[in-house]
Amino acid sequence: MLRYLLKRLLFMIPMLFGITLISFALIHLTPGEPDIIGAEMNPKVTKQVREQIRALYGLDKPLHVQYYLWLKRFVKLDFGKSFAQDRRPVISKIAERLPITITIELLSMALIFIVGIPIGVYCAQHKDTIMDKVLTSFVFAGFAVPHFWLALLLMLFFGVHLELLPISGIKSFNFSDLSLLQKTLDMTKHLILPIGISALGGLAGISRYMKNSLLEVLRQEYITTAYAKGLPEKVVLRKHALRNALLPVITILGLSVPGLIGGSVIFETIFAIPGMGQLFFASVMSRDYPTIMGILVMGGVLTLLGNLLADIMYGLADPRIRVG
């Protein structure tokens, strides 16, 4: 197992290298260039100033030289400084936005699994009943409804009409004057809508996977055997069926790991949450190469780790897949 792990980890290095190369090429292929000082369509910026700035930031060098310079810094884990006008180190820009994004994504993922798996199991058990149809319709409605629209409606209802929940942001105006308990309550209130709505969209996927995979397993002969030897339904379901049925769900879990740092531009914009989605969107729009590369590399590493994690968890769930 340890050797397998080591091999997998080592193999990740060339993969990561490939990811950086492709990412770097792609973002430089997009038309346009970073506008470091706000010179675009600005009458006050002379040609001379424009050239100086390009040279100052190394944008006048050939692409492969730029990549080499980036790589040289990257192996020292230095992601450089942002081309945005704040000129802050990429690392600290990411670091201050990561916690809130991870918190929201983890909570909403937890909510999806806690609610979605039971729905799937229930629907498989009570296939084709009215309740099955109601639940299926609900999760698909949640999947299909435009979330920005739902978000605005709920903000209007809970925020403006009922005045129960805050509309946007993650902290109240007087946050620093609150006690610890009040602070927790305050943040919870701010997070209910964003997490609730983002989880709503994920329910359909998980519950469907769960339902279909459980139905598949329930058709197997060993389940019939289990019933035949007189095991109560609960035990058949939990001990025999569920474990096997969880495999595809684990794949999804593994694949969602990189999503943890992705965040969502739409949610973060509507709810004014300073997270990774907004940062990534803004840096792509302004061609902030160092920040884009920083985020892509992190996403790449997490994708590779997530895949590895899924493989390991397969092994735990299904001994047949274990590798010696």
Binding site: T46, D86, R87, V160, F173, T269, P274, S286
Partner: protein
Amino acid sequence: MVVALLLVACARTKDAALYNDPGKPAYGDTIITGSIGEPSNLIPLLSTDKPSHDVAANIYNGLLKYDKDLNIVGDLAESWEISKDSLSLIFHLRKGVKWHDGRPFTAHDVMYTYKVTVDPKTPTAYAGDFLLVKEAKVIDDYTFKVTYGKPFAPAIASWTSAMILPRHLLEGRDITTSPLLRNPVGTGPYIFKEWVTGDRVILRVNPDYFEGKPYIEQYVMRVIPDSGTMFLELKNYGIDMIDQLAPLQAVRQTEYPAFRREFNKFKYLAFQYVYLGYNLKHPFFRDKRVRQAISYTIDKKEIIDGILLGQGVEATGPFKPDMWAYNGNVKKYGYDREKAISLLSEAGFTKGTDGILSKDGKPFEFTILLNQGNDVRIRCAELIQRRLSEIGIRVKIRVIEWASFVNQFVDKRNFEAVILGWTIPPDPDLFDIWHSSKQGPKELNFISFENKEVDDFLVKARHTLNQEERKRYIYRIQEILAEEQPYTFLYVPYANVAIHKRFKGIVPAPAGLGHDFIKWYVPESQRRYKTNAALSP
């Protein structure tokens, strides 16, 4: 629940009645503004985005500033004089002004600001005007003199936008990594207090401000990236002010009694005009009559009434009507289809069997390029498309993301027509956009406009310091532009602002609303936030 709601509703109505009382000026309360974007940094020399400058305007001062009618008056400079040969400006600085950290402000700070602005290692968009300074000199602690190679009219205005930086905190250090980027020290009416990244910036009042202590104790800018959310926050007291209501918000969504009871709306002409620009290298657009015909075909009134919902005025040239440089007496192009058709047939266009105009076998069709994210302009393009199709010109519309739009199309002159907007600077220097020498790569005369007379007057206008003389040149330039129609000037939009009613003393003017922000106040009985800003260090 219902009872609670009713109680809240009652409480609000009572409050609302109270807000009609103008009350007496009092110190206190907080104003919370909303901003779509987050400030990038708080050294104004290094930023070009609006949120940064909105915050920085409260923290720093320039040597000069614009008053409410857009006249240049002293700020950190008590007075200034122009030397007899029109080459030098001598600034007499205010005495007794202190930086927020208590150190005195002197001419050496001005000198430092000048030097760091022109330093090639400083990544700034503002070096241009200051590179023309031939010599800068500190005469004594409170006198500063700059000398130019030629008399240069925009020079005076350039000293309104240069925010003076504290030398004692910056000199000899790399300005791009200075702690002042996120923790600024200025001379202005508000002192930096806190910046919560991605969320808000908080300023507290400067009790020793040289023009007197502002009434409002605290200024908060909240970052709310979605305009729909921002509007909900306004209704829900999350913010007190929105300074860019969309036309629909301004005209419909804020027009109900409960909103009017609690908010005041103000409007003034924004410093911006929107235009349809033609690539003058295009064989059809080279002909003045074609451009005039299109201008006659576009119904500006329809655009303003239908798309801006009345929140704008027709543009006739590159200025807004409430500026001294504006010449309203130029050729105007009202909607006149007959005239357009006769101009086009004069120019050699004939209508084919398919109803499309053509000349020398080439059909008259072209593409209007626009940048993404500006719905108002996209809808303008659609109206223009329809109007032009009525006289037999086929128009396509293409919307492109901003960076590609600029780099791939505008910079490479790879377009037929564009809809774009220019910011109107309060100083009326048109050189960079209209002079024929400004057609190089990345330069802004991207439509390739060439007119000897305009070139001549542009140069003369920027090298005289006599405002009457300058005005004569600029007036003439506007007449030529109106005749030539290198752009079809479309409209100047109104800026619509909603502010909570408890804030009093707000006077809209050509300069906007913020010009006397330090005089805004909330009467004691209407105060919403109790702050202890005055007590904290």
